[in-house]
Symmetry: C2
Subunit: 257 residues, 2 copies
């Protein structure tokens, strides 16, 4: 069974999608077979990997409503070893769609349990900026959570709420759920705030925080407009180098928790 | 009746809260009486104005469930002429709370219609990063929407979806809803992306886009950790200057649409 990792944080704009795309691409570059599931109605991960609205025939919505299997919804991307289940704006009405269903928080888990593709090493899930049914489905299906944390005050404020939700999911529907790690994003050496947030988080959460920090790097925000991961768009940029280092550290930590 | 303005954009981290707090503070400085309603479960607007979790006795949740009036929930802030209805994490379960209620999208509108405070000039509503029941309530109650738009590719991708939702609300529950204006945020003169997004948006949406741009300015992201608006924290910073200019342009545009 592939290892399932959710990229989650209810704070908006902290780098969930950027980390999903580039960590997935870096793992694929290391020869891992990766499936990225786009659970966000905005569909940014799908666009960022070049799967545009017209190409999204079967989506995560169809998987959650039981209309399609994960295999049906899986599509190739321009990155070797990386496949995608595209997102869709329909996802924002999933609550209504599943209102009469029992066990609506385990729809994704059920689909992953039935997934018949033994070569897949990792399933990554890009979550929307909310602790809603979509994110709860992802956390219920995941083995681990990677939390992108922007080095800003508001982002820090929401962290305890997220950790609490992860604990609740572990105590109820998913006993094996672990916080895999916290990755500092948009780190800007020029501003004190980044340094303050870093020392605050390392002091309180210590080993949970990856050593690798993702710097603020404009190439990371340019890449999606070319429908590429940053690793393809500008391989030597500081952003690409950091995501490759994160992939190595992420794998190391899996081996030696 | 006060004029009601929603700060909305389902894309996360684009500056909704920062614009809510600082536009409200700038209008208050110009002598307008302003009420800010925090509709986000994260409660960032409440924290940013110094109303911490322990002080949030009656919240937006109580208003939406009909337990309290707007007057009951209104609390002072450290800014003269600016009052707040605090947010709470309970807001993320509002869907469940109102599942049996008819007319659940008009709960906020009903509360504002019953609001007995004729001195209030403006009600601003800070929305969460989703087109969910909370944002729909805000749009159903609002006269106008101010859309903070981060100068990034992913932020641009979501704009058409937001404009479509505003049109749908206007055609169904709120015929007087208008897009008041789009404000470019985190504008960085050093990077091409900001310039590209600006020319793209001004070309397609012309007069809807405010002339005033909010620059990327670290003082804006430091202010909330001191529980102050940027205008209080660093009055002469480029961010504060920009939000004062935005308030003047916002009022001008109201007078001469
Ligand atoms: N390290 C970085 N340096 C510079 N820009 C970045 C970096 N990481 C992300 N960005 C940009 O910042 C914006 C927010 O990032 P992203 O969309 O990945 O966050 P998110 O958490 O997925 O947002 P949402 O909450 O809306 O899903 C995007 O425009 C992205 O291109
Ligand atoms: N012009 C700016 N310059 C620098 N930093 C900014 C600016 N505007 C906002 N920020 C910072 O960027 C982050 C995102 O802004 P903010 O929280 O206001 O966005 P939001 O749209 O309300 O996010 P959410 O979608 O989570 O509600 C915050 O940490 C904020 O302090
Ligand atoms: Mg995202
Ligand atoms: Mg906000």
């Amino acid at each position: 069974r592939p290892r399932v990792i959710a990229l989650a944080n209810q704070k908006g704009g902290v780098g969930k999608t950027t980390t999903s795309i580039n960590l997935a691409a870096a793992l694929a570059e290391l020869g891992k077979s990766v499936l990225l599931i786009d659970m966000d109605p905005q569909g940014n991960a799908s666009t960022g990997l070049g799967v545009l609205k017209a190409d999204r025939k079967i989506t995560t919505f169809d998987v959650l409503t039981g209309e399609a299997s994960l295999e049906d919804a899986t599509t190739k991307t321009s990155v070797q070893n990386l496949h995608l289940v595209p997102g869709t704006t329909d996802l924002s009405s999933i609550d209504l769609e599943l209102v009469t269903e029992a066990n609506k928080v385990q729809r994704l888990r059920k689909s992953i349990d039935e997934y018949q593709n033994p070569q897949t090493d990792f399933i990554l899930i890009d979550c929307p900026p909310a602790l809603n049914l979509l994110t709860i489905n992802a956390l219920s299906a995941a083995d681990g959570v990677v939390v992108p944390l922007q080095c800003e005050f508001f982002a820090l404020e929401g962290l305890s709420q997220l950790m609490m939700t992860i604990r609740q999911i572990r105590q109820t529907v998913n006993p094996s759920l672990r916080t895999q790690g916290i990755v500092l994003t948009m780190y800007d050496v020029r501003n004190n705030l980044s340094g303050q947030v870093e020392s605050d988080v390392r002091e309180n959460l210590g080993p949970l925080v990856y050593r690798t920090k993702i710097p603020r790097n404009v190439r990371l925000s340019e890449a999606p407009s070319h429908f590429m991961s940053s690793l393809q768009y500008d391989s030597k940029s500081s952003g690409s180098v950091a995501y490759r280092a994160l992939a190595v550290e992420f794998l190391e930590k899996l081996e030696h928790p």
